[in-house]
Each structure stands twice: as C-alpha cells, then as structure tokens.
C-alpha cells in the first residue's frame, strides 16, 4: 500500500491521432514498466480491431512507478479512455476515478472537436489539467499559437504547457514531473469502511469477469467478502491485482489506488459501472452517486447471409454481449431476410466494431439493415411506444405524434470549408446554435436530429472538408417533428429491411436518392424492375431498372462446353449471396449503401 501523497491518478484527453497512445507508450517505456523486449506499439489498445483502427474501445489502466526528481518514488495510475464520441459516456465515468488530466494537443493541428468534448468532461469531473503540446518535432508545429488557442477556446491557462514529442521522446521527463508536481494527490481515510468505485469491467477468457476499481476510502484485501451496493450481490475476492499493464497480483489496495479484482462473477452484465463496492460486513454509509447505464441509441438488424447460420449468429452475439453491457439484442424476423437480431449500439462506430467482430472472429457473413434511432411514438390513447424498427411502426390512425432524439453537435473546421459544413448541417435539418472563431478555424454548434447524423453524416463531413473538420456530439433530448415511415418497393413488393423513418419534407428527396441508388446497386435482371419509394400507399419516387440486354458468351465451341458448365455452377454459387425478393436478387451491400446520401 502506498502513501496517499505518493499517488497520482490521471487520464489523457486528446482528439484522435493527437498522440494519446504514443504518449502512454513513452510513459510506460521511460519508467521501465514494461521490459524493452515486451514493448510493442499502442500497448494499451488490446483488441485487434482497436489496434487496426487506432481507437480505444474499453477503458484500460496502467500503474507506473516513477522515481521523481525530489528523490521520492511515486505511483502513477493512468486510465486510458475511449476517444470516440460513441463512447463519450464511458469516458465521463472513467474520469470520476482520477483527479487530473493531461490535455494533449497536436501542436501542428490545434484544438479539435474531440479535444473540446473530452476536456469539458475533465473540467466537469473537477480535474486539474496539464496542457501538453505534442509533435513539436514537426515543422508545422506552432506552440505559441496552439497555447493561445487553448486559452481562448477552452479557457485554461496554457503558459506552462509542456512541449513534447511523443515520437522522439523529447520532453517526456517533463511530463512525468508535471504529473507529480501539478496534479493533486488523491484523498481518503484508510481507516474508514471500504468505499471503492467500479470503474469498468470486462470478460477475460481465462479469468472470467475482471473488475477495475478505484478505492476511495478504506482498504480492500484478497479474500475479503465484498458487496456491490446497487446489485446487492456479494462475492469473496479471488484475486486482487494492478495492471502494469499485464496483471500483477497485490495483497491490498488502499485509498487513491487503482487496480482490478476477480470474484467469480459470471457476466459483465452482473456488474454496474459506477457501482460502489464495500465490505459485506462493515459497510460504508454513503454510496457513490453512481451512473446511469449507457443506453443504446442506434439500432439495426443483423441477419446471416446464409440462413443456416442463424444459430451461429446467436452464439456470436451472446458471447460478444457478455463483454459489452451497452450492446443490446433481441430476435427479429423479417419477411425478406428471415431470422436475425435487432441490435442496439452506442453509435455507428460501436455498430461497425461489433459487426466486424462477428464477421471476422466468428466468420459469419452479415446483412446489416438500415440503422435507426429510437423514436417516441405517442398514441392517441395517451400511451407512448418506443420504436426501434421502422417495420414495427403502428397503424397511423392510432398515432397522435412522433418525437425523435436530437443532439448538440460541435464541429471545428477551417474557414475555407465553413460554407460546406453549414450547408451540410442545414440539409440535415440542423438548427444553428453558435458560431465562433478561433484563429483560422470556426467552431459551429448545431442542434441536429440524431437520425440525420447516425448514418453517414461523419463520412459526408469528412468528404466535404477533405478530412479537416472534427466533430463531436452529445444527446440532448426528444422533440416532436413531422416524421413518416417510408417504404421501398422493389418490383411492386415492399422490402421491409429498407424501410426508414424520415422527415416528411425530406421524404421525396430521400426517396428519390434511394431509388436511384438501388437502381445502381441491383444488377439488371431478365425483366424490368420498378423501384419505388412510398409513404402509406402513396408512391413518392420511382425509378425503373431496365431489363438486362446482353449477357451471352461470344464463343462456345467443343472445348468450351466443359468450361462453360463450370461457369454456370459458379454463377449458381454467387446467387446464394443474394437475397431473393420475389423474383429479384438484391445484393447484401445494397441494404446499407442504398441509404448513403451524396449531399
């Protein structure tokens, strides 16, 4: 157990790619936490997908021992948090477990939207904040300008910002000193009854559920019987450890310390992030305030391309859900797609990560249907129904009005692209709330309907600004609007997986765009195919996919018979990847691509 004054707990907040993972690697390396030969890049990003995409999905932590210039050795606990907006809520929770933050800003780029979103969370959590200007090795680095920007836009003092290059290692010792000198030590009475925060939990194939904790008061020891105050469950502790970043057993953890425990907990779902852990016998009187569990906001259907793989899909989804309490699922049947699951996610990235993992780790090819948000459908009889799937839209005569979720979006963009960004936001039914400048960048704040953002807003934003804009959002609540369900009919038959909720004023435009897209996505058939968008029974857009005109092999002589026969067999196999709707084969990628908007 370490004396409180010799502990510093912190997190790193940064916009994506500003160097958070690289800095963490350097801190770990410089303090010899990991032997040089075990050093690999992005140590804290553990899953393949995290490494590949350069994102952190779950919180992670590492305990670093640092002999400071004052001759004392300090324990530094770094909690690494996800940087992506989908996981913003988890970030805010992890921040409650530490006292300070390093605010890393790329000195060649400046403040970005995620810098803002994350730093405000740190401020909300009452953190002491140390600004760090990274990438000073780059010729484009401009520390003065960026320091000024931090002061102007964020409103914190940046005169003592630490200038570093996480890549070359320059300035890393200064960062360590700043952590010790400028961040506050934690506080807490070691003789009080145990009070620890459940920071996060995950499933480890060898150890079962692992729980990350931060001790606030009292002492926790291996073998103690603990109680989770919200769930009222009690467990004996099997193992107590710290992460360096691999697990290293420890006998006890006192106030201010961060570590992990295992306690034969069956499922991640049995734990509540933010829960208070205390001793079964000697309980703390006041629980921590706790957190609302993260709620899925985006829903879509996942169907196996091959109907025979439904059970495999169920198995994969159940396994993934074990480790991810924010991911929800229930069985869904679709007239066209057969059996599958309606799944809920924290955002689109979360959706993609889960979908990728199912396809990659479980080798199940999926058809993903149109993502939808949760609508509040207020019925004439005064009741309210949550609508997760446009296919379930109740009879219109029973509906009084519909509300949709809104977000507050913050976008930072160079002046040159401001016009394009404003147009994009207006087109997506946005209401401008704020527009300010910081140097040559504009900061725009928009109130937007989530359903206009969920699908491809970020892609569009990146493309209209050539990647120079940054974006972040938070949910703000529900508002009534004129929303309708739009159906798509292919060859006169409705395809339920293509139904979407859309604002009435945007329906014609969306309908036309979808019909045009589908016309390109569906291959020509031997007959012509009408593709229509309709509201209720009324057709609002229509395209016709003309019949195939030419599909014949030019040369077929004696020697070609055998080869051609094989080709026909191959075609047959290719057809299995399509779904038949009536007589029409729709390729699997059409379901998502049809929804993408070019403008």
């Amino acid at each position: 157990m370490t004396d409180l004054t010799h502990i510093r707990n912190f997190s790193i907040v940064a916009h994506i790619d500003h160097g958070k993972s690289t800095l963490a690697d350097r801190l770990i390396q410089l303090t010899g936490t990991v032997a040089e030969r075990d050093m690999k890049e992005q140590l804290l990003d553990s899953m393949d997908i995290e490494r590949e995409r350069g994102i952190t999905i779950k919180a992670n932590s590492v305990r670093i021992e640092y002999p400071a210039k004052d001759g004392q050795t300090y324990i530094l606990n770094l909690i690494d948090t996800p940087g992506h907006v989908d996981f913003a809520y988890e970030v805010s929770r992890s921040m409650r477990a530490v006292e300070g933050s390093l605010l890393v800003v790329d000195a060649s780029q400046g403040v970005e939207a995620q810098t803002l979103a994350n730093v405000y969370q740190a401020i909300d959590a009452d953190h002491e904040i140390v600004p760090v200007l990274n990438k000073v090795d780059l010729p484009a680095a401009d520390c003065d300008r960026v320091a000024e920007q931090i002061e102007d836009v964020i409103g914190i003092d940046a005169t003592d910002a630490v200038q570093i290059s996480a890549k070359t290692g320059l300035g890393i010792p200064d960062v360590l000193e700043a952590i010790v000198q400028r961040l506050p030590a934690p506080q807490g009475d070691r003789d009080a009854p145990l009070k620890a925060m459940l920071v996060d939990s995950w499933y480890d194939p060898y150890l079962g559920v692992v729980v990350m904790i931060r001790v606030m008061e009292g002492v926790i020891k291996k073998g103690d019987r603990i109680r989770m105050m919200q769930t009222a469950a009690t467990y004996p502790i099997d193992r107590l450890a710290v992460l360096r970043p691999e697990m290293q057993n420890i006998a006890e953890l006192g106030p201010g310390e961060i570590g992990v425990l295992t306690a034969s907990i069956k499922q991640v779902r049995d734990t509540r992030v933010g829960d208070t852990i205390t001793h079964e016998k000697r309980q703390t009187e006041t629980a921590l305030p706790g957190f609302k569990p993260a709620q899925p906001v985006v829903f879509c259907g996942l169907f196996p391309v091959d109907n025979g793989e439904f059970e495999d899909l169920r198995d994969a989804i159940e396994k993934l859900a074990l480790n991810d309490a924010s991911f929800s699922f229930e069985m869904e049947t679709s007239a066209a797609l057969g059996f599958g699951f309606r799944c809920g996610f924290l955002g689109l990235l979360h959706l993609e990560v889960i979908r990728d993992r199912i396809e990659r780790e479980y080798q199940i090819e999926l058809i993903t249907t149109a993502p939808s948000v949760i609508y509040h459908v207020h019925m004439r009889d005064g009741t309210m129904e949550e609508l997760h799937n446009p296919a379930d839209m109740p009879d219109l005569t029973l509906v009084d009005h519909i509300e949709e979720p809104r977000i507050k979006a913050t976008i930072l963009v160079p002046d040159d692209y401001l016009g394009d960004v404003l147009k994009l936001c207006q087109d997506r039914r946005g209401i401008q709330e704020d527009l300010t400048y910081a140097g040559t960048r504009a900061m725009v704040v928009y109130d937007l309907p989530l359903n206009e953002v969920v699908f491809d807003f970020y892609d569009r934003l990146k493309s209209v600004t050539k990647g120079y804009a940054s974006f972040d959002y938070q949910m703000t609540g529900y508002r009534q609007d004129f929303l309708v369900k739009m159906q798509v009919l292919v060859n006169e038959e409705p395809v339920d997986a293509l139904s979407i909720m859309v604002h009435r004023d945007r329906a014609e435009m969306r309908g036309r765009a979808m019909c045009e897209k589908l016309k390109d996505l569906i291959p020509r058939h031997m007959f012509k195919i009408p593709i229509q968008a309709a509201i209720g029974g009324r057709v609002i857009a229509r395209e016709t996919l003309s019949a195939m005109r030419k599909d014949v092999t030019a040369k077929c002589y004696g020697g070609d018979a055998t080869r051609k026969k094989k080709l026909l067999e191959k075609q047959k196999a290719g057809k299995k990847k399509m779904r038949q709707f009536g007589k029409v084969d729709i390729p699997q990628e059409a379901f998502i691509s049809a929804l993408k908007m070019d403008g």
């Binding site: 020509r524 058939h525 031997m526 007959f527 195939m548 005109r549 030419k550 599909d551 014949v552 092999t553 030019a554 040369k555 077929c556 002589y557 004696g558 020697g559 018979a561 055998t562 051609k564 026969k565 026909l568 075609q571 047959k572 057809k575």
Partner: protein
C-alpha cells in the same frame, strides 16, 4: 447421337506470336518437329478409330493455334490416315484455320490437294490501328490479299472478326462490317471482344488500364446492328456469333451445338463420344510437350475420359443448343428432365419460345442466354 453427325477435331498448338486477348491453348516455340507431330496425330487417329469403328465421318477441323503453320506433308499424312480409318461422308467438310500472315498461294493449293475444302481465316479487324491494338501481325491490306488468295483456291471461305473493341463506336462498326460484308464470304464469325482470364488483356483490364470497352447497352446495340446488317446481306445468323449464306453453315461446329459426337485429338482437345456404356467426354494433356511424350509412351495415355451423366448432358444440350436459331429438340426424355415451371416463366418473359417440338431462344433471349441458362438450370 449418330444422327447429329460425327466429326474429328485436331488441335495444332503453335502460333507465330501470342495475341494478348487469346486464351486458346497456343504456344510460341522456336522449332517444331513436324514429323513427330504427324506421327503422333496418326497414331491417335488409329487409337480413336478402334473405338469408333464403323462410324461415318462428316467433318474434320484443323484448329489452333495456327494450323496454317502446319507443313502440307503433315496435313496430307493426317488426312490419309483418316481416310484409312473411317468411311467418309460424301459431303465431308474439311476446315483449316488460317492466319493471314501464313497464307501463301502455293501452300494453300497443296492443302486443297491434300483434301482441305474449307478455310476459316482470322482477319479480326479491318482497321490497321485496331489490328495493332489486338497484337496481330498482319495489316488490313495483307488480310485482304490473303482472303483473295484463299477464295480463289477454296469454294468455302469464312473469316473471323472481333468487334466491340476499345473505343469502337456503333457507327464505326457499322462501316467496318459493311466493308466486311462486301467481301462476300459465305460465312462469318463475328465475336464481341471478351476479356478472358489469364490473358494479357485481363491483366491490363484488372489494373484499370484497358479502357473504352463498351458498356452493356452499346454492346447490345452493336450486336443488334450486326444481326440486321448480316441478315440484309444474305448472311443471317444461325448461332450467337455465326452467320452464313444458305447452306454454308459450318457443319463441324453444328456437331458441337447439336450435341453430336466428335473425336478430339491434340493437346487440350476435347471430345464427346457415345459408346455402348453411354456418353463420355474426353480431354487431353494441355502441354504440347507432355502430350507428345504421352503419345509416344502409349496411345491411350494423353486422353482422359469422364462419363457424362443425364443431368450434365441436359446442361450441355441447353447450353449449346439454345445458341442456335433452330434451338433444341424437345423429345420426351428432355421434357421429363427439364424444369417446366422455369420454361413457362421464360416463355412468359418472351425469352424462349416453343415451335414444332423445339425449344428456341427468341432474339432477345439469345442475347441474355447466360441468364436464361442460369434460370433454367437453377435448383
């Protein structure tokens, strides 16, 4: 199958240069031991003769490769051996494929003396720039001169053109085809350029460097135009890519499309033979050297046999027969096997029709034959 004719295909696997679009079994070599090839062919003819005793031969086809590179002595020896092995039909067709670069009047007269009575020439294009783009060794004027020689010597001369080439417009093809028809051959094979796997064109195409190929609609328009022009000039189509004056159809190729029997000799040659124990497909070693070597070791060695089961036979009959304007005969056996729901559906779509107990593709249907087949043959 005897009533559909009986033919012999003989593959000559050598060319002067490899064309970038070509996926035929053709090779460029420094030297060819023509005597060795003549011997091997002769021995193979004996081998197959034993197995098809008593049958009457309707056609012989020297295909390639470039068979016009064969010494006259080889062609002569092969045809002698054939005459010694089978009885020949009175109207036997003996075709030799020729490249314009290897047409010489004297040699062609000798081929005729040896028994060749029909020549099929690979002219490919009547535009010099396009011939170069196709990697051909001849020019338009050389092709025309060669055609002239051939026609003076042979009663029956056909030639091949490749169209739907890079950057070819409908109007440009119309002009070119009109010139081709003015040459008044009695038979034309008009192929749309196909990008075949494993060719130099395929590599370029996959790298995005082979541009200007027609999209589906233009290629359909070109095809329609071809049908109309040829028909108006007295060379109506009788198969997807083949056109002939009345009575001038290639008897040899009709054997393939009508489901007849033929012997396939030479590297990579295929055959179909109906024996006491049913129909069989034959295939041979692809490599010229291996084929030759295997022939030397044992006449049976270069050929691989595989029975063709009723389902496979149905597939082949539809695949080949529906290419012909005359369609396939719907005998009772066939009616039992074929999926009548699918047939009905395709009849309704106007892609197939039934006439005099034959199943026939309509003009529209023939143009989308691959899709018609995959519908007909789907489970």
């Amino acid at each position: 199958m005897a009533d559909q004719g009986f033919g012999l295909y003989l593959h000559w696997p050598f060319c002067q240069a490899k064309c970038p679009y070509c996926d035929f079994n053709s090779h460029v070599v420094a030297q060819i031991d023509q005597t060795a090839w003549a011997e091997a062919y002769g021995q193979q003819i004996e081998y197959f003769g034993e197995l098809t005793k008593g049958r009457i031969l309707n056609s012989v086809y020297f295909g390639g490769g470039t068979p016009s590179l064969m010494d006259v002595a080889v062609v002569d020896a092969v045809l002698d051996k054939i005459r010694a092995t089978w009885s020949l039909a009175n109207d036997i067709e003996v075709t030799l494929e020729a490249n314009p670069t290897s047409v010489e009047a004297d040699r062609f007269r000798d081929y005729r003396m040896a028994g060749v009575n029909r020549v099929s020439m690979g002219i490919q294009a009547l535009r010099d720039a396009d011939l170069r783009a196709l990697g051909r060794l001849h020019s338009v004027s050389e092709a025309l001169a060669a055609f002239d020689i051939a026609r003076r010597i042979f009663d029956r001369v056909s030639f091949d053109l490749i169209y739907a080439r890079q950057d070819q417009s409908l109007a440009a093809w119309e002009a070119e085809l009109t010139e081709a028809l003015a040459l008044s051959a009695d038979h034309l094979s008009l192929y749309q350029l196909t990008i075949e796997d494993g060719t130099a064109f395929a590599d370029r195409f996959n790298a995005g460097k082979l541009r200007g190929l027609p999209a589906e609609d233009l290629s359909a328009d070109m095809y329609e135009l071809t049908q109309n022009l040829c028909e108006a000039s007295g060379l109506p189509s009788y198969e997807v890519s083949n056109h002939a004056a009345h009575g001038a159809q290639s008897q040899h190729n009709l054997i393939y499309w009508r489901g007849g029997d033929w012997v396939g000799i030479g590297p990579g040659a295929h055959g179909r033979l109906t024996m006491a124990d049913g129909r069989h497909g034959t295939q041979t070693d692809l490599s010229p050297q291996i084929w030759l070597e295997h022939c030397r070791q044992d006449p049976a060695r270069p050929t691989y046999w595989e029975p063709i089961l009723p389902a496979g036979h149905l597939t082949e009959r539809l695949m080949m027969g529906l290419r012909l304007n005359e369609g396939v005969v719907l005998d009772n056996n066939f009616r039992r096997q074929i999926n009548s729901c699918k047939v009905k559906y395709l009849l309704e779509l106007g892609l197939l029709c039934e006439k005099n107990d034959r199943l026939i593709t309509t003009r529209k249907g023939r143009l989308v034959l691959n899709s018609v087949l995959s519908e007909l043959l789907a489970d």
